[in-house]
Amino acid sequence: MSEPMIRLENIGKSYDGRTYAVRGMDLTIEKGDFVALLGPSGCGKSTTLMMLCGLYRPTEGSIYFNGRYVNNILPKDRNIGMVFQSYALYPNMNVFENIAFPLKQLKHLSKREIRKRVQEVANTVKIPELLHRMPSQLSGGQQQRVAMCRALVKDPDILLLDEPMSNLDARLKLEIRDEIKKLQERLALTAIIVTHDQEEAMAISSHIAVIDQGSIQQYAAPDVLYNRPKNLFVASFIGTPPMNFITGTLEPMGEDFVCITAGGNITIPAALIDCDLLTSRSVVLGIRPHNFKVVQSRENALTLSVDYIEHLGKENLYRCQMAETSIRVITAIDERYPTDEPLSVQIDLKMLNIFDEGSGDNITCDVVV
């Protein structure tokens, strides 16, 4: 059995000895994975990255790189490349010197070798013409590329990216995102990106760790996260427009169950639910806006009143009310429904997620935990 590239075991970090920024975190990252640490600000994702690169020392738990215990290893001896949010280019050195900086710390390299490797990495990231400029003469996107070069020049085992695209404008973001992804695949790097932008995380990574309040809520591939969120936090965090949440009471009815909601009753097959349900219990139904089907009959459907319609170009978004709950329904562009009549919608049961209201856990049967 080969060791994973990175293994975090019960990692915890406290700055003041009382409150924990990160607690009880377990994470396994295989070689070649591109993992996104995703979460709202202050959730502990940057702290986790800082512990991975060695600038912070974990208060508890252990970190292994390739099976080697690295808690006490200094950042420079971990063979990592890091791109900071602000790029952290050295303002008094030109681009060449910036990229050569990590190589100069390795005592055995000759000047020619350094020049060759800087040249190579600059070609890879497509900035060979910038080598003689000063950082202050570069645009944001160029600074970002220089920071990438500096992170890659040492041929690191692990590439760490701390919100590398948050200072770029929207179009440049897409461009750089593609390039980072291509580079990571071509160089077969193990990469970890910290971001609060879920779209970025979904697009770029092979696995996403959704973090909230210092611990991992779910660690899975982007599609799993999207279709089968493990709990209410993940469900509400992932997806734009967000998932609809409908509170109801689940009750046994014959072989199956029925969910009683303010907008109508819905029959739910027993095969869909993972736990033994003997008495009724409060649940939250989670349905993505495009998993509704508008129907004529009110049988097994929810009745909504339409507030207004947003025309999104490729589809229509109906902003609806169901009792106190606001619901978004996305329909095909050619389907038009009047706003002054109630709308009847059925739920695509394959895409339905059912959460226990008390614990917030997903109780749908094929949840990958």
């Binding site: 950042p75 890091m82 900071f84 949010q85 790029y87 303002p91 202050s136």
Partner: protein, 321 residues
């Protein structure tokens, strides 16, 4: 035709009226700036002119304006000790500037970089910075009085008492070491003043730059040399310029510590002016010496602006990311 000519005339009339109104309006701001102009003219411009005129007289304490042409200036260049005085001044300027700038860089690197940033002992760093600030916060007269007391003669001076306590012979500090004492006390005082400036420059360095350098494998000393010190380039330039001009015109510390003695061995150019103008009351000669000093200062200032490329540093945006 007549009508249009009439109109034109009318227009011209209103135009001149408008112009007058505009001129009146433009006068108003200058009126408001009078409180600035009056003191500048009375206390800066007029004295400069008076001094220039005075330098061509042999005015003494009788305050008579008796013009003697360029005699005073001839006297400056004819004074036999002038070369010694200028050499001594150069020693004080170069010595104090070097000692104070290097000294304050050393203190700031230890207190702000190593204690605050590397070892995260912020309170210790702050404590040492405050201690180092004391010489600058103390009024010059008090500071120099303390030095006089410390290096006083046998039986009085603190240092001599301490030497006696460990069985060493007393030293005549102000007889044999007066120039060294001047250098030490003056550079200590001005080093102390640079510390806030340098320290805040180090603190402006974004944390991520230091972190990035650590990840890239640089050691603490390497980071200090290649990342931190370059950030101090501008404050160091500024402090050096300031210190050179300041030490050139400094006389109060000399007056307080050595009084130019012993035997005139600590008389600098500025102190020589002070002696002539305020001790011997040869105002005309003092004025001529002062005019010459101003000329030297201006020349030095211009040379330094060139050497340090101050205009370049001011123009090029110092990137802060």
């Amino acid at each position: 035709m007549d009508q249009s000519a009439d109109l034109l005339l009318k227009d011209r009339a209103t135009l001149t009226a408008d112009r007058k109104a505009i001129k009146r309006k433009q006068r108003f701001p200058f009126l408001m700036m009078l409180p600035f102009f009056v003191p500048v003219i009375v206390f800066v411009v007029v004295p400069i002119i008076l001094m220039l005129v005075m330098s061509f007289t042999d005015m003494k304490f009788t305050l008579k304006w008796n013009f003697i042409g360029f005699d005073n200036y001839r006297r400056i260049f004819g004074y036999p000790d002038m070369s010694k005085i200028l050499a001594r001044t150069l020693l004080l300027v170069v010595g104090n500037t070097t000692l104070s700038v290097l000294g304050s860089i050393f203190v700031v690197v230890i207190t702000t970089y190593y204690l605050d940033i590397v070892y995260r002992r912020k309170n210790l760093g702050l404590l040492f910075r405050i201690i180092w600030l004391i010489p600058n916060l103390t009024p010059t007269i008090v500071f120099m009085f303390i030095w006089r007391f410390m290096f006083g003669p046998e039986g009085y001076g603190m240092i001599n008492k301490m030497l006696a306590a460990i069985g060493l012979p007393a030293m005549n500090w102000f007889t044999n070491w007066s120039m060294q004492l001047l250098l030490a006390s003056m550079s200590l005082s001005s080093a102390s003043g640079s510390i806030i400036l340098f320290s805040s420059a180090i603190r402006q360095i974004p944390e991520s730059i230091v972190q990035s350098a650590k990840v890239d494998g640089a050691g603490n000393f390497y980071i200090c040399r290649r990342i931190v010190l370059p950030y101090l380039r501008w404050p160091i330039t500024q402090k050096t310029l300031w210190s050179i001009l300041g030490n050139f015109t400094a006389y109060e510390s000399i007056r307080l510590l050595t009084g130019g003695g012993p035997m005139g061995s600590t008389v600098t150019y500025a102190y020589y002016i002070y002696q002539n103008a305020y001790q011997y009351h040869t105002y005309g000669y003092g004025a001529a010496l002062s005019v010459f000093m101003v000329l030297m200062s201006i020349t030095m200032g211009l040379i330094m602006l060139r050497v340090f490329q101050v205009d370049k540093q001011l123009r090029v945006p110092r990137m802060d990311i």
